[in-house]
Each structure stands twice: as C-alpha cells, then as structure tokens.
C-alpha cells in the first residue's frame, strides 16, 4: 500500500493541491471497491446497492459529521456511541412508556445530546483536560444512564417513528432512500456550509492548525472548542434518533463501539487526527467505504462479519501511514 501511494500521487495532475490528496485517495478507493464488487458479484452493480449503504449508515454519517468538527480542532469525542444509545433509550421510553408525542421527544433528545456535548466541551476547555479523558468519562456516564432507564430493549411502536422507518423516498427508476438519508445529507450540507463559509467553521480549522496561534490572533478559541463538542453531542443525539427509526427500539447495547467507527470514517476520509486539515466530503466517503466493506462481505456470503473489522483495521493503518507521509513532506 505504502509503495503504491507515491506512485498514485505522481500520477495526479500537478495542479492538485496536496491538501486534497487524502480525499482523492479515499474517493479512488471507493470507486475501485465499487468496480471490483461489480465485477465479482452478480447484482452488485445496482444503484440501490450504493443507496442501501446510505440507508444502513445514515446514523453513522451524522455522528461522523459531528466527529469531523471535533477532530478538525485536534480533539476527539469518545462519547458519541454512548450518546447515540442513550438517545435511543430516552426516545423509546418516552414514546412507549410515557406516550409522549414524537416531535417533543425528538426535540428533547437533541437538546440532551447538545447539552452533554456542551458540558464536556466546557470541562475540556476551562479545566484544560485532555478531550480523550473527558469524553471517556462522558462515554461511561451516558452508557450507564441507559441502564438506569432500563436493562432490556424497549420496542418503539409510535406511529410517527414507524412511519419514518418504513417510508421510502422514491428517486425514480425503482431507486429509493429512507427519510434518514435525507436528514443525513441535509446535515452534511449544512455542516459543509458552516465549515467553509462561516467564521465558526474557519475558527475550527484555525484552532486545529494551532490553538496558541489562534488565541494570539484573537480568535474565540474557547467558544470554538466548546461549540465543536456541542455540535458533536447534537449530531450524536440526531444519530440516535435516526438509529431509533432504523432499529425501532431503544437499548443500552445499541451503538457499542460506534465512536470508533465514526473516528475510523473520519480518518479514512483524510482528516488529520492532529487537526486543521480535512473535509466533510472525505468523511462522507469514509462512511461509504466502511459501509461498502460490509456490503462486499455480505455479498461474499462465506465470510464472517468480523472480517469487516479486519479490513477497517488494515485501511486505518494504510491511511494513517498516508497522513504521516503527507505531513512529513510538508515538514
């Protein structure tokens, strides 16, 4: 892999700035996987197969968008998987156990997720504690809270949720996506707009490029850092709502390890873990690559699902090496 990469870079037109290389590599990888799958498996080269990757991973996409903000500042958020689970749990218990209306539940869940993120961001900034530790604590806290609500899976029978789970947004030609995909894409577009066309977004990149410099340039570092964790918390809660649509249940064991999938997607998408460099498009591609690996393995039929993990692991290694190579050249 590492031997093939420099050759790939040489093959690129000279005009491609180096900062786009990781995203292009991921895009190339995704295209190659599509082509390979199409050649190898009957029925793979179907638009719906790609769309199903979106359908099955809409919640992960939303969570990964929040994670992208955090990683761009050079931070990390380990709490996202637990916040997703907590969101499914709160949704299920309020809908099924207490008969709350769906819109109220969704608003409350999103507010709780954002508040958790806000709290973690404030602690990280004001007490100057490593994001790793603070969000690790948040991870245990949110996961634990799930079990105070209930230890069993709670089914969701609410009309709005089941309708959203079963609705197909037809795209013509027999192709369809779920409403969750629409939500996820709206989130991606909104996030891309924020990152590239607003001060908050540019401050996120600046903080990732050098927190001390950003501070001396008079940028609102505190506000930015707290904002990214709030955004991540909000996205996790929204991911949780989408997962509730997908699963139609709330359960404390939902989304175990999703924080790692989200981090993997962001890194495979070419965002530097040290912060300051990366694109949301990369994250989208990263989620698609992860989803496509699962699809290929299910098409293969004979491979167990843990092969997914093995491939993700190998990919992560390759992409971290690539990042290292690129940043080494820069230095």
């Amino acid at each position: 892999m590492s031997a093939a990469l420099p050759a790939g870079r040489r093959g690129l037109p000279r005009k491609v700035p180096r900062k786009y290389v990781p995203v292009l590599v991921t895009a190339g990888l995704f295209a190659a996987m599509l082509v390979a799958g199409g050649l190898r498996y009957r029925g793979f080269a179907d638009g719906q197969v790609v769309l199903n990757v979106f359908v099955d991973n809409a919640f992960l996409l939303v969570v990964a968008v929040g994670m992208t903000f955090v990683i761009l500042t050079g931070g990390i958020d380990l709490s996202v998987g637990s916040v997703v689970a907590l969101s499914t749990m709160i949704s299920a218990t309020l809908l099924t156990g207490h008969g709350w209306p769906a819109p109220a539940v969704i608003v409350l869940v999103l507010a709780i997720g954002a508040a958790l993120g806000l709290a973690m961001g404030a602690i990280i900034h004001h007490f100057e504690i490593q994001p790793f530790i603070v969000t690790l604590a948040g991870m245990f806290l949110a996961r634990g809270l799930c079990y105070t609500i209930g230890t069993e899976s709670i089914p969701i029978t609410d009309g709005t949720f089941t309708a959203l789970a079963q609705t197909k947004v037809r795209l013509g030609g027999g192709l369809w996506v779920s409403p969750s995909v629409v939500v996820a894409l709206v989130v991606v577009l909104a996030a891309a707009y924020v990152l590239h066309h607003t001060r908050l977004g540019r401050d996120v990149y600046a903080v990732g490029g050098g927190e001390q410099s950003a501070l001396l340039m008079g940028l609102p570092v505190a506000r930015t850092k707290i904002a990214v964790y709030t955004i991540s918390g909000f996205c996790s809660a929204l991911g949780g709502v989408l997962l509730s649509f997908y699963m139609l249940s709330g359960y404390g064991l939902h989304a175990v390890g999703m924080e790692l999938d989200a981090i993997a997607a962001v890194v495979i998408g070419g965002t530097l873990l040290t912060g300051g460099s990366g694109y949301l498009l990369g994250t989208v591609l990263g989620v698609l690559v992860l989803g496509l690996i699962q699809t290929i393995i299910s098409f293969e039929g004979t491979l167990s699902s843990w092969w997914t993990k093995i491939f993700i692991g190998l990919l992560l290694f390759a992409f971290i090496l690539l990042q290292r190579l690129i940043s080494a050249r820069r230095g």
Partner: protein
C-alpha cells in the same frame, strides 16, 4: 520641532511574578510615525512590557493611556481592537490556512453570516501588493518561507486600523535580503503614521531602522534616547550596566595548541544531509563551524552526537574507533550536545532549574540510581554560581527564566557531565550581549581547561573570536578548514562561504 502627542503612554508600570519583579515603575511613550526600539538584556523586562501592552498580562501598578485616554486591556483581543497589533518572533499564524485567510480570519467580510471569499482574496492581495509582496494568497501559508510568513503576519497586524505595531524579534530568523524587505515594509508603515515598537538583538538593525529607543535593565527604566545621539558602545553599556571592558577582554584567541586528537571523523557523511567530511578535533581546541543556515552545520553536530546515523565513514574517539549510533553511546564517549533549538529539544519548562540541570547526569547514571538530594544541591549551587544564572534560585521553574539564563542552565546540564567534547549549536542566538559575553568567556575557559569544543554559530565574529580552527560549510559540504591566525578575518570567511573554495 514640536513633539506630536504620543499615541501610547504608560507610566509607573509594575508587574510581579512569584519571586520575580519583572517591571518596576517603568515609563514609556510611543509617538505616531516613529520606529521605537525597546532595548535591554534578556530578563530586563522587554517581553513582559510587550505582554502588558498587548493585554496578555494585567498590571499590578501604573497606567496605560492610548490617545490620552486611560485604558485597561482584558486580553489580546481587546488590545487589538484598541489598535495595538503584535507580530511575535515565532510566526503565530495558522500554517494550514491560506495566506488570505490568515490575514482576515476573525474579521472576514461577510454577508448574512456568509464569508465573502472573493472579497477576502481581493483585499488580501491588495494589502500584500501594498507591502511589495508578490504571493499567491490562495496557497496555504505553509508553502511560503518564514520571511514571507512574517510579512503576512505584519499584513494581518495592519489590515485593520492598527495604530501601534509591535514587532518582537521579527528578524531573528531572516537573512539579510529578507531583513531589507522587512525594513522597507516598516518604513512604508511609518509613513502612514503607524507607531512601531521594534525589538531586536541586532544592534546594527536597531541603528538602521529606529528613531528613538527606550532602554530597560532589571525591570527598571534606564532612559529614553534618540538613536542618532547614542553610540553603540554607550547603548551596550547602558543595557548591561557595566563598562565594556568585559566584552573586549576576550580579545584574540591564543594560537591552537598541539593537544592530542580527541575526535577524528573520517569520511563521515549522511546522504541528503551532509557530504562525507573529515575533521579532527583536538583536546583543548575550539573548532568553529561557519556557513549559512542549512549548509550542514547542525547535521555535522548531530552525526557526531549519534542523533543521526552516519551513512558513510567512521569516527574515532581518543584514537579508538567508536560506534556513535545513539546519543547515549556518544555520551558514553564523553560527547555532549547542546542543541540550537533550546525550547523544543532541550528544556523541560515544567521542571525547576535544579531538575533541568541534573537531567543529563541522572540519565547517565540510570534512573535506578537517583542522585542524592544533597549532591544535587551542591552541584546546582556550584553551576548556578559559576555561570551566574539569574535568578539564583534552584527551585524556580525554568520557564520563568529569560532566554539567556535558560541557555546557561542547558550548558550547565552538560558541563556537569564533564564532557571531553562539548558541541554547542548556536548557543548565543536570541540572547543578549551580557549573557553572550559570559557564555563566550565560559567556552574560552573550558577549552583552556582542556575540553574540546565544537562551536556552531551564524555570527562570524563570534566564531572568529573563539575558535582555534574554523570549518567552513557550503551546500552541505565541508569546503575548507582554516587555521584561525592573524590572516583570517570575517571577510575571508565570507568569501570562502561565498566561493566555496579555499581563498
């Protein structure tokens, strides 16, 4: 000629840190359209004064007036909004962002919250063109040299209504033509009525660009002078508060003595870093290395210290072949290396002077055999006194010391080991005249005592003053080895560097 009212006036400023009185009753004024040099040794309070002016530190006493109105800055942003912008020695910009963005981030022109990128790029390009800079503002800042980054930082500083521009050691990493470019920019800004506060250790630059100067010593005001009316000798005397005899004392080095060869490098090289070179360093000899930045000076030092692996050649120490594959192995042979990058590679800012001092000795003993506290105190007291480290408090955090004193602590760290060869890479860069003279005198004493020294410095005068022998580097090649006799002058050295041949 009537003096215009000052833009900025401070009076009776006091600032104390735990155990250190950094500023004590300092007065200072800055007039519009002048370049004002702030002078003083390291630890005199220059940095503290700048941080007070830029709102990084609050003040314990005194007041600051801007345009005749008293002000108090709550932070860097407040100072900037009041019209005081600062460019630091290290370029504090975000290298991952584009040039245009670095100039405008935080105050991008917007419409309905959306950044108007075209406008950002157009205005950035105009601004840089106004400073005679031809750069593509859409490229990331990291694709330009430090000098350009510095100018971008200045462009950012003056992009809004800056009234006062503070330049803290902007020239320390620039070469001569880059300094000239910076000075052109400074003169242009001065014409626009901006008051510039300039800090530099290079006296020639101070005399070239500044109109007036304020001198500090030990946190107190020495005085305010017109540059044209104060000679360099008087200036230095006022800064260090003693007569210049100390500086002159060193004079010419005695001729090299025929000590036994200590370290002999034969065809030692590392592809891509330094061409194979042959160099002999004798006991009690100071060998200077001269050459431009990036000519391979540091690479030689790193090879001899085992910090990099040699690709070719061999080294022998005291006549026996030595495999210097790691710094630990080199230390075992009595080689010590004081690196040029003292902040990143040498100091541990969170530890005290004592802890920093004994680090290398403790490492050499191994962590299983801690150095007894009493022995530590003895050693530290001895070296703090010998090197005149100020403040002479071993339990002070090293981060609170000035640059010159930090450098002395680093030196002491290696001296405790009593090395046979001491490699010094730019030991006097960025430190003041007084500390510089002390370090130079120390090097001379050490070599008189039989220690071999490899001395790397960008300042040719310094190399000439100290060395018995000078190795000249050019384009990663050791091109000449010159005995430091009466015929060797800085001109000869410069010619050798320029021509790449023995003259």
């Amino acid at each position: 000629m009537a003096v215009p009212p000052p833009i900025l006036r401070i009076s009776g400023i006091g600032k104390e840190f735990p155990g250190v009185k950094a500023l004590d009753g300092v007065d200072f004024r800055l007039l519009p359209g002048e370049v004002h040099a702030l002078m003083g040794e390291n630890g005199a309070g220059k940095s503290t004064l700048i941080k007070v002016l830029t709102g990084v530190y609050g003040i314990d006493a005194g007041e600051i007036e801007l345009d005749g109105r008293p002000v108090a800055f709550s932070g860097p942003q407040a100072a900037r909004q009041a019209g005081i912008s600062t460019v630091y020695q290290e370029v504090n910009l975000c290298a991952n962002l584009s040039v245009a963005e670095n100039i405008f981030i935080g105050r991008e022109p917007r419409r309905f919250g959306r950044i108007r990128w075209k406008e950002v790029r157009r205005r950035a390009a105009e601004l840089l063109a106004g400073l005679d800079l031809d750069v593509d503002v859409t490229l990331p800042l990291s694709s330009y040299s430090l000098a350009v980054q510095q100018m971008v930082a200045i462009a950012r500083a003056v992009a809004v209504e800056a009234r006062v521009l503070i330049l803290d050691e902007p020239t320390s990493s620039l070469d001569a033509s880059e300094v000239a470019q910076l000075f052109r920019v400074m003169r242009r800004l001065k014409e626009q009525g901006i008051a510039i506060l300039f800090v530099s250790h290079f006296l020639d630059q101070i005399y070239e660009i500044s109109d007036r100067m304020t001198i500090l010593r030990n946190g107190r005001l020495v005085g305010e002078y017109a540059t044209a009316e104060l000679s360099q000798v008087e200036l230095v005397a006022k800064m260090i508060g003693r007569e210049l005899a100390d500086l002159e004392e060193l004079g010419a080095r005695p001729p090299a003595r025929g000590g036994a060869p200590l370290v002999e490098a034969r065809e030692l090289g590392r592809p891509g870093a330094i061409e194979p070179f042959t160099l002999t360093i004798r006991e009690g000899e100071v060998v200077g290395l001269a050459g431009l930045l990036g000519s391979g000076r540091t690479e030689i030092a790193r090879l001899l210290f085992g910090a990099d692996h040699a690709g070719t050649g061999s080294v022998s120490v005291a006549g026996r072949t030595a495999g210097l594959r790691t710094p630990r192995a080199a230390m075992g042979h009595g080689i010590a290396f004081c690196s040029e990058n003292r902040r990143a590679e040498g100091l541990v800012p969170g530890l005290t002077v004592r802890e920093n001092l004994i680090l290398a000795l403790q490492a050499a003993r191994g962590w299983a055999r801690p150095l007894p506290r009493r022995r530590q105190d003895e050693l530290v007291a001895k070296y703090v006194a010998a090197l005149n480290i100020r403040p002479a408090d071993p339990e002070q955090l090293i981060g609170n010391l000035s640059g010159g004193n930090q450098q002395k602590v680093l030196l002491a760290r290696w001296l405790i080991l009593e090395p046979r060869l001491l490699i010094l890479d730019e030991p006097t860069r960025g430190i003041d005249v007084g500390a510089k003279a002390e370090i130079q005198r120390l090097v001379a004493e050490l070599s008189d005592g039989g220690m071999a020294v490899l001395y790397i410095s960008a300042e040719l005068e310094e190399v000439l003053r100290l060395s018995h022998k000078v190795g000249v580097l050019r384009d990663r090649r050791l091109v000449a080895e010159l005995e430091n006799d009466a015929g060797l002058t800085t001109e000869v050295l410069m010619e050798t560097i320029a021509s790449g041949a023995r003259s």
